[in-house]
């Protein structure tokens, strides 16, 4: 992430595909692990951890969507619905059969993967905007189904109260406990995605994204890999839905509407399509920026506007600023925050020299 070799010195495929390109990468990862598992959770107020928790949930979802959109080149506006599939599956298993989280969570993911693969079938014939509309149909159908089939949604109110996850008999309820719970899955998701993308499957995804006909000619089974991309991506979405449900303590249909799908698309586009770090950046940006803007406005808004109008101006200006900043970052670097980060690194690599 922050380390950088001074040239391309790799002589074997193994070296090129290594998870840690340099020894220092190990140390970076170790330092991050210490920061996120020992220093951060025990040094800040629970409120800040709650923000990190929201980001953590978003990271898992953004990573999953990025596998599909960024790495395989297939668009989906149905990820909000896939999350709800995961959430309601897990909630039903947890409430009706008393399944613990380590069972409910993968089951939710698996069901979402199954539904995602079905919704992904049109991708075999159509691409781009047409596929977007097909997945939009998936979103609407799933929303409608959950909204109307009370056997799934647990009643007219379409919400199921979820018991808290328990680990070794201890209930995880506090924000700090939730932090560790969520972080565990973030690490799994990040490591899983990194490994997926450098495996045979990941390379096949990238080949399909770059040119699907060429990919087919070199022997990649398009049918299989496109559906696999949808399934894996939806699995992540389903897990995100389950994590969200455990975090809030309820599965509710209104938490997974189409705006959620759009928000996640925004995350990966702002962060940078097709990169793990980009998905993380995007999730942080979209979750954190409105909060930061609000604090800035609360601190400075009173200097410019009267106290009564500040209350009306803050939320509106926050939306305007949020939109403006997204446009700004995309104009500065259309390939997203990840590319911006790489550019900064490249600049400092030879600094203070020009070349």
């Amino acid at each position: 992430m922050i380390h950088r070799e001074c040239g391309v010195l790799k002589t074997t495929y193994e070296a090129d595909m290594a998870l840690y390109p340099l020894p220092i990468a190990r140390w970076t990862v170790a330092a991050l692990a210490v920061l996120f598992f020992l220093v951060l959770p025990f040094s800040v107020h629970e409120y800040y951890l709650s923000i990190v928790n929201l980001i953590a949930i978003a990271v898992v979802g953004a990573l999953g969507l990025n596998i599909l959109v960024g790495s395989t080149g297939q668009i989906s506006i149905g990820h909000g619905a896939f999350m709800s599939v995961g959430a309601y599956t897990a909630a039903n298993f947890a409430v009706r059969l008393g399944a613990p989280f380590w069972l409910a969570l993968p089951l939710g993911g698996a069901m979402a993967a199954l539904v995602g693969a079905v919704v992904g079938i049109p991708s075999l014939r159509i691409k781009g905007l047409y596929l977007a509309i097909a997945t939009l149909a998936g979103q609407l159908i799933i929303e409608w189904t959950i909204n109307h089939v009370t056997w799934i949604s647990g009643g007219v109110q379409a919400s199921i109260e979820m018991p808290r996850p328990a680990f070794l008999g201890v209930e995880i309820a506090s924000q700090r406990g939730m932090y560790f719970f969520l972080m565990f899955f973030v690490v799994l998701a990040v490591v899983g995605t990194l490994n997926l993308l450098r495996s045979r499957i990941g390379r096949a995804f990238i080949a399909i994204r770059d040119h699907d006909i060429a990919a087919e000619i070199i022997g990649i089974n398009i049918f299989r890999y496109k559906l696999l991309a949808f399934a894996i991506s939806s699995f992540y979405a389903g897990v995100t839905g389950v994590l969200y449900t455990y975090y809030l303590g309820i599965a509710n249909y209104e938490q997974f509407q189409i705006t959620v799908s759009i928000d996640y698309l925004a995350m990966i586009i702002i962060g940078g399509l097709g990169s793990v770090l980009g998905a993380i950046f995007g999730a942080i940006f979209v979750t954190l920026l409105p909060i930061v803007i609000r604090y800035a406005m609360e601190a400075l808004g009173g200097l410019v506007f009267s106290q009564a109008s500040v209350l009306n101006i803050i939320p509106n200006l926050r939306l305007i600023l949020f939109g403006t900043l997204i446009v700004f970052f995309l104009v500065v670097e259309p390939e997203g925050l990840n590319r911006l980060w790489r550019n900064i690194r490249n600049y400092f690599r030879v600094w203070p020299f020009a070349y």
């Binding site: 220093v39 909204n147 209104e254």
Partner: protein, 415 residues
């Protein structure tokens, strides 16, 4: 890494323990009140007028010396009607030491219910969400404090009965926004249809609720409804008025639930003359003629400012005032029990459960909140569009309390 691990662990534990020992004891005499609001999201037409009402009331209380001598700090956070910002806002309220939180928005109520209960902070949800939360024994920290959708449904059927002079063999149409909140009253209304012997047909309006020509035509010309009960949100109430008018259905045979009943809805439907006869249900007084509103105007005059323009939207503004007023009243009861002002969420919960005979000059319904009944009786008033304004049709009333109570009980037994 391996060698330094115990050291780091020790460091982390040290940091944590010192942190934990410093954390509490922050209670000051300032009472912190959270107020979630939506001025920019899906229901912004409500928020832009309702939240200033709450702000102004709290300002008035503070201007008069606070609650029993303790000032109130109202923290308003806009959540855009989205769950993640609301969760973040809730955690911030908790950090600031809020003793009561106004939870705006049905999905947000659902998302925060478990946390509110675990953290023992009362949350108020007037007029929407969680009919089952009336049961204070099951949801000790959720306070609907106004008629829930179940009570509204019962009141609407009763109003239809009054208007039609009996319901036997009559045809009632229930026109609703097709989401969980829209469907919530259906079981109650269905049961009343068997009990009272009227025919009931439901007409769903799919989101975003601006297209209901077919449903309205069906109601007016095929089903020939004797009365229409409408439960719509956002832009759709005004569309429903327009469409019903277009097919020639008399608006005096329509009653709308509380979220389709503001000045803005009538104006968007083509103005007051166009909506003449339309009935609306209210959980707070409507109009400008209440002592507390005069006091707010007086307060602005003293500051040399004109009264805020939001006050002209009396339906939502008054709801904001009522919402804040009931919360302040609960805080007042809590402080009376603990005069030093160091109250917690639990004290405010008990304060809510003592509220009775608090009407604020007719603006607030005569609520009676008890540990079992967090709704306070489910009282509503019906107004009618008449000569360019809302004219009061009925006094505060509630209906079929036994049926609503049965559904609350059943919802509790399901768990």
């Amino acid at each position: 890494m391996r060698r330094s691990f115990p050291l780091l662990l020790g460091l982390a534990v040290a940091v944590w323990t010192t942190h934990a020992s410093v954390a509490p004891a922050a209670a000051s005499h300032e009472i912190v009140m959270g107020f979630l609001c939506d001025r920019t999201g899906a229901t912004q037409t409500v928020g832009v007028n309702m939240c200033p009402g709450a702000q102004d009331y709290v300002r008035l209380v503070n201007a008069k010396g606070g609650v029993e001598g303790h000032r109130i700090r109202l923290i308003e956070i806009d959540h855009e009607y989205k769950v993640p910002p609301a969760v973040e806002a809730y955690e911030r309220y908790k950090k600031e030491g809020a003793v009561v939180i106004a939870v705006y928005g049905t999905p947000i109520v659902y998302a925060l219910t478990q946390r509110l209960t675990e953290d023992r902070i009362p949350g108020t949800t007037p007029g929407f969400g969680r009919g089952d939360a009336t049961d204070g024994t099951r949801y000790p920290y959720i306070f609907p404090i106004a008629a829930t959708y179940w009570s509204q449904g019962a009141a609407a059927v009763d109003f239809a009965r009054q208007q039609l002079g009996g319901l036997k063999g009559k045809k009632i149409a229930y026109l609703f926004y097709d989401n969980p909140a829209g469907r919530e009253p259906i079981p109650v209304v269905e049961e009343l249809s068997t009990k009272e012997g009227f025919q009931l047909k439901t007409f769903a309006v799919p989101p975003p609720g601006v297209e209901m020509g077919a449903q309205v035509l069906d109601i007016a010309q095929r089903y020939h409804a004797d009365f229409v009960i409408a439960h719509l949100f956002g832009r759709s109430p005004s569309v429903s008025i327009k469409e019903l008018k277009r097919v020639g259905y008399p608006l005096r045979k329509v009653v709308s639930f509380v979220w389709g009943s503001a000045e803005a809805d009538v104006e968007a439907a083509g103005g007051w003359p166009a909506a003449e006869g339309y009935h609306v249900m209210q959980f707070a007084g409507v109009g400008t003629d209440y002592p507390v509103l005069n006091e707010i105007r007086e307060m602005y005059k003293k500051e040399g400012q004109p009264a805020p323009k939001e006050m002209t939207s009396t339906v939502y503004y008054n709801r904001g005032v009522v919402w804040a007023a009931v919360q302040v009243e609960a805080v007042r009861n809590a402080i009376r029990a603990k005069p030093d002002g160091r109250i917690t969420g639990e004290d405010v919960k008990k304060g809510f459960e003592k509220i009775a005979n608090f009407t604020l000059g007719g603006l607030v319904p005569p609520l009676k909140i008890t540990p079992n009944d967090h709704e306070g009786g489910g009282l509503v008033q019906i107004y009618q569009v008449k000569g360019g304004k809302f004219a009061r049709e009925t006094d505060w009333f509630s209906a079929y309390n036994d049926v609503v109570a049965k559904h609350i009980k059943e919802a509790g037994a399901k768990k």
